[in-house]
């Protein structure tokens, strides 16, 4: 059986800079995968290629056998790919509930029912908020919430889209130690309860080693390691990339 997400020889250049060079890896369905690497390694660029916000210079991206490069960015949610953003990309003037309901956009029934069939969306959004323990914030303006809570609201919005592939861009950054511990739990629960395949870009090694089945390491736009967390942790190239060589 082919992997859920297949990335082959992915390259992207910005002017003279190669942000990604011939990166290939597979994400198996049901896995929680970590995409790690030093700053500027190309992790978020890789996410942005998968979600079609960036147009790769060359390479192939297949999701469940479907060529992603043939689709516009707004079509991916309908293919059940959802994401969160590194710097929290919420709709600042909407309530928390409305923010999460945007995740339901592609799930509305077709036809005239769309004009006022908000009940399904509202129910799904409240469910997702409750699932993440955010129910009390539903009617608050989202910008009034603390940073860590806003990140969780982003996660709720992604869950409402009922993703088969969930991309988390640095979910732990800016969180308190307690919040990171809770996050590890949440990621594991989501993988099980939503049967979602998860890929996360993350700097927090403890979190990655704790929740990931599979780790891919990028450095300067190239893949330098790919395997189970224990193996990657011992990899000489990885240690050099993180610590530098003498």
């Amino acid at each position: 059986m082919p992997a859920l997400l297949e990335i082959r020889d992915l390259s992207i250049r910005f002017g003279g800079i190669a942000a990604l060079s011939d990166v290939s890896f597979d994400i198996e369905e049901g896995h929680v995968a970590g995409l790690i690497g030093p700053n500027g390694a190309g992790k978020t660029t890789c996410f942005n290629c998968i979600t079609r916000l960036y147009q790769p210079t060359s390479g192939r991206l297949a999701f469940a056998g479907d060529d992603l490069l043939r689709h516009a960015p707004h079509e991916l949610a309908g293919k059940r790919i959802a994401r969160t953003f590194q710097n929290v990309a919420l709709f600042d003037r909407l309530s928390t509930l409305d923010n999460v309901m945007v995740g339901y956009h592609v799930r509305y029934a077709r036809g005239a029912a769309r004009l006022r069939s908000d009940d399904g969306g509202r129910r799904a959004a409240l469910e997702a908020l409750d699932y993440l323990g955010l129910g009390e914030h539903a009617n608050r303006p989202v910008r009034s919430l603390p940073f860590g809570t806003r990140k969780m609201v982003e996660l709720a919005r992604a869950l409402v889209a009922r993703p088969r592939l969930l991309l988390l861009d640095e979910p732990a950054s800016g969180l308190t130690t307690a919040e990171v511990a809770a996050l590890a739990d949440v990621v594991k629960r989501i993988a099980a309860d939503y049967s979602a395949t998860i890929v996360m870009v993350e700097h927090h090694m403890q979190l990655v080693m704790n929740v990931c089945d599979h780790v891919i390491v990028l450095a300067s736009g190239r893949k330098i390691a790919d395997g189970p967390p224990e193996a990657v942790q011992r990899d000489k190239g990885v240690i050099e990339a993180y610590l530098g060589t003498a």
Binding site: A82, L90, F91, V102, H105, R116, R157
Partner: protein, 326 residues
């Protein structure tokens, strides 16, 4: 939650009753002025959709007013099309042209979009003058007035009849808009306004929604322009100047650009604020107008509608909490 909804129905019902009985208690010219309020409110409602909800700026909506007005004039004068058909046609014509402008607007953002639409407003009068055979040049065209139907003949004046027709149209459009903006469509438009990349990532096609918003709001401006043309009895190029476009934006901002009530208040402002400043200082009304704008922006930056809500909301909340506890 349900308490708030009941309140909303009540305020709409009171407003509808007020609209119904008002012509009985005010002089005829006041009904005439209130027709303009209704028309401007419809036009500004278009800006609430486009700018307030979707975040796209138009300083050129006066052009769509003109298109609506001229569409009604030409249809009535040259083709003998009756009112009930010409107003929807005016909406369709300006809606289609609005979609066209919307496609152009996809390539422009912020200040550049403001400038491009401003240029449209600037070009409107001379364009209308240019196509003499169709538009009557600088002379403009006469628009037949709307007489009340048979049974009401002699019971109400044609000014009063137009007043009622206008407010029924306005009521229908406000209702339609309220329903459409309250659901999936409105949420998608707001999502694009607040964060386009995030909206895209959740399946919102920004091109489609942004173009649609332009067409939708232009159709409203076209209807508003059609009503104003019928009320005035003629259309001429110098009605559709930059000043009209700016007055609409001003009304929208002062009324409250992201609420439907704001559009209604905006209609009142566009019609009455110039008259008011004229009274305060007949020598330099535009100076007073300008000062009024600055004061509004300093003290009520969210517009009047938002400021009223800001006062009412905490009171209502406190009452609800009190109810919940007792």
């Amino acid at each position: 939650m349900s308490g708030m909804r009941v309140n909303k129905y009540w305020s709409v019902a009171v407003l509808a009753l007020l609209v119904l009985v008002l012509p009985r208690f005010v002089p005829s010219y006041a009904a005439f002025e209130l027709t303009f309020v209704g028309a401007y409110a419809i036009g500004i409602l278009g800006l609430v959709i486009l700018t307030g909800t979707n975040g796209q700026i138009s300083l050129g909506h006066g052009a769509f007013f003109g298109i609506g007005g001229y569409a009604v004039a030409i249809l009535a004068q040259k083709l003998g099309v009756p009112f009930w058909a010409s107003v929807p046609l005016a909406a369709i014509v300006s809606g289609i042209l609005g979609l066209g402008l919307g496609l152009v607007a996809l390539r422009l953002e912020g200040v550049y979009l403001a400038l491009a639409t401003f240029a449209l407003a600037v070009a409107t009068p001379s364009t209308l003058k240019h196509f003499k055979s169709l538009t009557g040049g600088s002379q403009g065209l006469a628009v037949p007035s709307l007489s009340p139907p048979g049974p009401l003949h002699g019971v109400i004046t044609s000014e009063q009849w137009l007043y009622y027709v206008t407010w029924v149209i306005a009521g229908a459009l406000f209702l339609l808009t309220s329903i459409a903006l309250g659901g999936r469509l409105g949420r998608a438009l707001r999502a694009i306004r607040d964060n386009e990349v995030a909206a895209i990532s959740f399946g919102v096609n920004p091109q489609r929604y942004k173009t649609f918003a332009f067409g939708w709001s232009a159709a409203y401006a076209g209807i508003a322009g059609a009503i104003v043309a019928i009320a005035t009895g003629f259309v001429s190029p110098d009605t559709y100047t930059v000043a009209l476009s700016l007055a609409l934006v001003t009304g929208a901002v002062l009324g409250g650009i992201d609420t439907l009530w704001g559009a209604l208040l905006g209609g009142v402002i566009v019609e009455f604020l110039p008259l008011l400043v004229q009274k305060i200082n007949p020598a330099a009304p535009s100076v007073v107008y300008g000062i009024a704008l600055v004061l509004f922006m300093i003290f009520l930056p969210g517009g009047i509608a938002r400021s009223i809500q800001a006062v009412i909301h905490p009171l209502r909340l406190r009452r609800e909490i009190h109810h919940a506890r007792s």
